[in-house]
């Protein structure tokens, strides 16, 4: 395989295994970057009054270490396994939407590139902590293009994760092979479902938060630190940020942790020779954690912000409550061990280590649920110790267990067991030497770049620094073991762990012929990774001899390339280079979208529906299910922005009276137009259901006209408002604030309308070519859902902004 073919292969692949490998190696790269930043911090803290790093560089290291490790390493590492394993475990040939999957990966990479690039621009990277608290992350305190690149990168990452969640949930719900009911679903897939469920509802809030943040930085809105707005008595937008961030941030803890628990639950039976004890209890407990509880504890991060005592008490109780299902899960794990005949292989050792570390970190967390103790511990290294035990210890140990466990599945070869055990022992020791002493530092403030030479701060920090070097550098053993296994490992056999899960028992024919210790590398080391799946042929989906789909598309890559170029330029606007980058990026995006549409019109990329176990969604087509799932995340996105609007509005007296700003009759008429377009779209759907293609086209065209008129009126309305002084830069601080909320929310809704208009053009073109019939018109049904949702959002925007 020559270099060009190699590059084309990885840029155009949409195969779930390939994308899984891309996620795996990219997230490991980001893990190394985050780990390097951690070492810099530990060197700085190894002695008192150190000046190895300046305060600013230390703050940047702290910030980017946290963001990279949580969002570009731990979660994507889990997504790598979701990609690779979930289709295999449920007997599907790929994920539900392969191009969307590739797009999710490229957006994830793009966000990471933007974030890392921030180190190399004037002023450096973000230095506001991973929580990006306001006003610290505002342009006032974090000026320059670097932080903007980081926050835009976070925005892209959040979009990537949301799209990925839709894909994986749809796959699990709709593409299970015959007989793969929920009662037989492998535990790792169960946890993939729970994790992506939490992602689906948590990440839109992060998108909303960073839409506000980036809008302040790039568009000049006044949500957080406009001096005029901050002069308004009673306003404290930092509390708004805390609410939005932690509504995402606390579920994110479980999003990071649950995949590791899925690994543990999946592999315990392989090494104990017995089924998992309390399997149903584990599933029920995890469902409890994900659905009601993880989204009901976020305010325990805000005990010190002055929120009312009654709220503190409520969130104290909910936080303690969440320890109950986790207790059940851990007890089930322990019972499984007690009843089994344990084989202390490397994956099992790491899984056991993860459980032990989680118990330690979890118990520390229970203390933090108390508002009283939280006042003592908050902002200290006790908290650092707690969340590293949970998020790093339990998660990394669990995911390393996954690497060792499924490496034979990915390569067909067996790793060095003795080296794996040494890796575990030194990792476990290094981790505890690093984070154990930190739990003693409840009087040392975190996020501060140095400390005085008092008490035993120095010796404890030195022990922690020693542990950090042990823990980081011992990972070289993992890297060596993986690489050695891939090229030189002995054949593993089709099912080395004796597992009954489907990923070990399907398509063995694919691996076995390639599994010999003599197999030469193909096109370099990563070329050999490619050999784990046969090279795809460009064009339409093909089915290989072992029943796996292969398909390629360069569009996800080029679309992301355009987006990346655009956002690399945006922070430098209005400089000529910034503007040029934005124009080039926008052109690439536009070209790709047209090409994408052309591909679909020519049906160049199609994936047959598959899967037989679809309960409880048997009656629903795949794309329609995906649309419902996507729209449920949109509910959270718009709802979070409505929450922000209500917070700002309720926090100040004297909010501008709507009728003094807006033309109510015009707004009412425009509302009529949009609601009527909702009706005409419903008629279009009804027409095609009855087989009336011509009627459908007419109704669709009417919807397009009405939507266009709505946008035209909206633009003229904005023009009138701006000329009347209702702008985001108005000298009236109330107008600044109200204007920021109005233009952003109505603008986001408008963007959805414009996207809908573009899609309608595509649908009309396909309708004219006779693509939709009574029997086959899924795209019209799905667009009908989208357009109705756009209507619903306006049903709330109109009264909130124009009437109340």
């Amino acid at each position: 395989m020559d270099a060009a073919s190699w590059l084309r292969r990885w840029i155009t692949t949409t195969n779930h295994k390939d994308v899984g490998l891309l996620y795996l190696f990219t997230s490991l790269y980001f893990g190394m970057a985050g780990g390097a930043l951690a070492l810099l911090m530990r060197v700085q803290l190894s002695v008192p009054n150190n000046n190895f790093l300046s305060a600013l560089y230390y703050d940047q290291a702290v910030t980017m270490h946290g963001l990279i490790m949580i969002l570009w390493f731990l979660s994507p590492l889990a997504i790598a396994f979701f990609n690779y394993l979930v289709p295999l475990q449920i007997g599907a040939k790929d994920l539900a939407f392969p191009r969307l999957n590739a797009l999710s990966y490229w957006l994830f990479l793009s966000g990471g590139i933007l974030a890392i690039t921030s180190f190399f621009v004037p002023g450096g990277s973000a230095a506001s902590g991973w929580t990006t608290y306001q006003p610290l992350s505002s342009p006032t305190f974090q000026p320059g293009p670097g932080p903007t690149l980081v926050y835009v990168g976070l925005l892209l990452l959040a979009v990537s994760v949301t799209l990925g969640s839709v894909n994986i949930i749809t796959t699990i719900l709709w593409m299970r092979t015959k007989g793969m009911g929920f009662s037989k679903l492998p535990m790792f897939t169960w946890f993939a479902l729970f994790t992506t469920g939490a992602m689906l509802y948590a990440f839109p809030t992060l998108i909303a938060a960073f839409v506000l943040n980036v809008s302040d930085r790039l568009l000049g809105t006044a949500f957080f630190t406009s001096p005029a707005v901050l002069s308004i008595p009673g306003i404290d937008p930092s509390i708004l940020w805390d609410n939005l961030f932690w509504f995402f941030g606390h579920p994110e803890v479980y999003i990071v942790l649950l995949p590791a628990f899925g690994v543990i639950a999946n592999i315990i039976p392989s090494f104990t020779g017995r089924p998992l004890s309390g399997r149903n209890w584990i599933i029920i407990s995890t469902a409890l954690v994900v659905l009601p509880l993880s989204f009901g504890v976020w305010m325990h991060h805000m005990f010190l912000t002055g929120i009312p005592l009654s709220l503190q008490e409520s969130f104290d109780v909910s936080t303690e409550a969440i320890s109950i299902p986790f207790g059940i899960i851990v007890i089930s794990f322990i019972l499984s061990l007690v009843r089994g005949r344990i084989q202390f292989k490397t994956p099992f050792l790491f899984a056991l280590g993860a459980v032990v570390l989680f118990i330690i970190g979890g118990i520390m967390g229970v203390f933090l649920s108390s508002p009283v103790l939280d006042r003592q511990f908050n902002g200290s290294y006790f908290v650092v110790s707690h969340f590293h035990y949970v998020m790093v210890g339990a998660t990394i140990f669990g995911l390393i267990a996954a690497i060792y466990y499924w490496l034979p599945r990915m390569t067909g070869r067996m790793y060095k067991e003795s080296l794996g055990r040494v890796h575990f022992v030194i990792s476990f020791i290094g981790f505890n030497v690093l984070y154990g002493p930190m739990s003693l530092l409840s009087d040392m403030p975190r996020r501060v770049f140095t400390y005085p030479n008092t008490g035993d701060l120095s010796i404890v920090n030195q022990i922690a620094t020693l542990g950090s070097f042990i823990f980081v550098f011992v990972q070289v053993l993992l890297a060596y073991n993986v690489v050695h296994t891939w090229f030189r490992g002995p054949p593993a056999g089709p099912n080395p762990w004796g597992s009954s899960d489907l990923e070990w028992t399907t398509d063995a024919a694919e691996r076995t012929p390639t599994v010999t210790s003599e197999t030469p590398p193909v096109g370099g080391w990563i070329g050999q990774l490619a050999a784990s799946t046969p090279a795809p042929t460009p064009g339409a989906a093909q089915v290989s001899s072992h029943g796996e789909f292969h398909h390629t598309s360069v569009r996800p890559f080029t679309l992301t390339l355009g987006i990346t170029i655009f956002f690399l330029g945006a922070p430098f606007y209005p400089s000529a280079s910034g503007l040029a980058a934005m124009i080039v990026g926008a052109a690439v995006v536009l070209y790709t979208m047209l090409s994408w549409a052309r591909d679909d019109l020519g049906e160049k990329f199609s994936v047959p529906d598959e899967g037989e176990e679809r309960y409880p969604f048997s009656a629903l087509p795949k794309v329609k299910l995906g649309m419902w799932i996507f729209l449920s995340s949109e509910v959270i996105l718009f709802g979070s922005l409505f929450a922000a609007y209500l917070f700002l509005r309720e926090s100040v007296a004297g909010w501008p009276i709507a009728s003094s700003i807006h033309d109510i009759p015009l707004g009412t008429a425009n509302t009529f137009i949009l609601l009527t377009s909702g009706f005409t779209m419903a008629m279009a759907v009804l027409s095609i259901r009855n087989g009336k293609q011509r009627d459908m086209l007419l109704w669709l065209a009417t919807t397009f006209v009405l939507g266009s008129v709505f946008m035209g009126v909206k633009i003229s309305e904005w023009s009138n408002l701006a000329s009347g002084g209702f702008t985001i830069t108005s000298s009236n601080p109330m107008y600044q604030l109200a204007g920021s909320a109005y233009y952003l929310l109505v603008g986001l809704h408008g963007a959805h309308v414009v996207a809908g208009l573009v899609i309608m053009l595509y649908l009309m073109k396909k309708t004219i070519s006779g693509a939709y019939t009574k029997e086959s018109h899924g795209a019209i049904e799905n667009f009908g859902l989208y357009w109705a949702f756009v209507d619903i959002v306006w049903c709330f925007i109109f009264p909130l902004f124009y009437l109340l």
Binding site: L240, M299, P616, L620, V635, S659, T676, F679, A682, L686
Partner: protein, 85 residues
């Protein structure tokens, strides 16, 4: 689904808009007006979900999928406003 049902829903959404406008301009008690207007908006949204999006004909699990984020959202809205004290 019949045409007459869709026409009825459309007319209802328009009437609800008029009712919202009327309430905002004629009900002097701000809280009552706000509650009434939000109720109208919720009823419009429900009508669109039930009839335009046809959720009544979808599996119950789809309804659950819609209600879960709405439930989270309600919690977020209430808590965010409550955090003002």
């Amino acid at each position: 689904m019949r045409n007459s049902v869709l026409v009825s829903v459309w007319l209802y959404t328009l009437v609800a808009v008029l009712a919202e406008v009327y309430t905002s301009q004629n009900v002097s008690n701000g809280l009552t007006a706000a509650a009434a207007i939000i109720a109208f908006a919720l009823s419009q949204a429900a009508a669109v979900v039930i009839f335009y999006m046809d959720i009544k004909d979808e599996p119950g699990s789809v309804l659950l999928m819609v209600l879960v984020p709405v439930m989270f959202l309600a919690g977020l809205l209430i808590s965010v406003v409550a955090s003002l004290g």
